[in-house]
């Protein structure tokens, strides 16, 4: 794939980086990335991925833009309130980068449709807001052999990891970290969330996705990054595959 003059100029700062360069930028253009959940995490992740020149973005979210979303979901405008998130997102991303194709799916991803929805994606970015959906995304990624960049937030805290159980033997999946739905976890709508924190974690999800697609650096695979927004502290911890994991049985590829 040759780049147009517009693309070459648009991506100059990437092409300057030795870890990306022209070949890495070609890989970004050739990639299809699915983003599940176009909320606080998916919205900033989508902005950076479209701007970075990901060739095709699959946007999956059943919701409409609400006024209370705009405190953090900076992809949307006040005039978008009431519109389907994926439609508003596709329009905004196209305006940002007309070279990024979008495929908008205004549906709720559940266990029954997850594999079908994510088929064809080279990478999945999960920023959904409930554990049932996270489990369904994880199981589908494992079955499809696709790496998963998973981010989550609550109040002032963020957690992010790359789960490649379907790709690399012995790698952990999301269920090795969260084996069962934790009881009484309040959703953001009840617990509250700082908008800027979702930007931090969403941008880190995009960064991990760009690294995986281009092969740059060391992805957060087999590790988790735990971000404490109140204390302005972050640390990475190791995560091993759990032999008792109901999805990957200790990193077994299907």
């Amino acid at each position: 794939m040759a780049f147009s003059t517009d693309e070459t100029e648009r991506y100059t700062r990437h092409i300057l980086l030795k870890e990306i360069g022209g070949p890495g930028q070609q890989r970004l253009k050739a990639a299809t990335v699915a983003i599940v959940g176009m909320g606080g995490l998916g919205a900033p992740a989508a902005l950076y991925l479209a701007a970075a020149g990901i060739g095709r973005l699959l946007l999956i979210d059943p919701d409409a833009v609400a006024l209370s979303n705009l405190q953090r979901q900076v992809l949307y405008r006040t005039a978008d309130v009431g519109a389907a998130k994926v439609a508003a997102a596709a329009a905004a991303l196209h305006a940002l980068n007309p070279h990024a194709d979008t495929d908008a799916r205004a549906v709720r991803l559940v266990e029954a449709n997850a594999t079908e929805l994510l088929e064809g994606a080279h990478l999945v970015v999960d920023g959904t807001d409930d554990f049932a959906t996270r489990f369904a995304v994880n199981a589908a990624c494992h079955a499809l052999g696709v790496p998963l960049v998973s981010g989550a937030v609550g109040r002032w805290d963020g957690q992010i990891g790359v789960f490649a159980s379907g790709v690399t033997k012995g790698a952990p999946c999301y269920r090795c970290f969260v084996p069962e739905t934790p009881p009484d976890v309040e959703p953001c709508a009840e617990a509250g969330i700082v908008g800027a924190l979702t930007g931090v974690i969403g941008a880190m999800m995009a960064l991990e996705a760009i690294k995986i697609v281009t092969g740059a650096g060391s992805p957060l695979a087999g590790r988790l990054l735990l971000f404490d927004g109140l204390g302005a502290d972050a640390r990475t911890v190791r995560l091993a595959a759990d032999p008792a994991c109901p999805v990957c049985s200790g990193g077994q590829i299907r």
Binding site: E180, P182, P183, V237, A241
Partner: protein, 66 residues
Amino acid sequence: MRVTVNGEVRETAPDATVTTLLASLGIDSRKVAVERNREIVPKSAYDRVALVDEDALEIVQFVGGG
């Protein structure tokens, strides 16, 4: 035996495991991950993993918002 939990030094029984530690703190193991010396302990190993003197433990609350 002395271990550190979320930055605080605690005295534990010599045969303490992750399971007994969480029970002594009154924490529901379904809500947290336990990090021991910068590594998440697999949930299936909570009964088996014996704590040792000077272990540094962090109790990590799961978050699932997006």
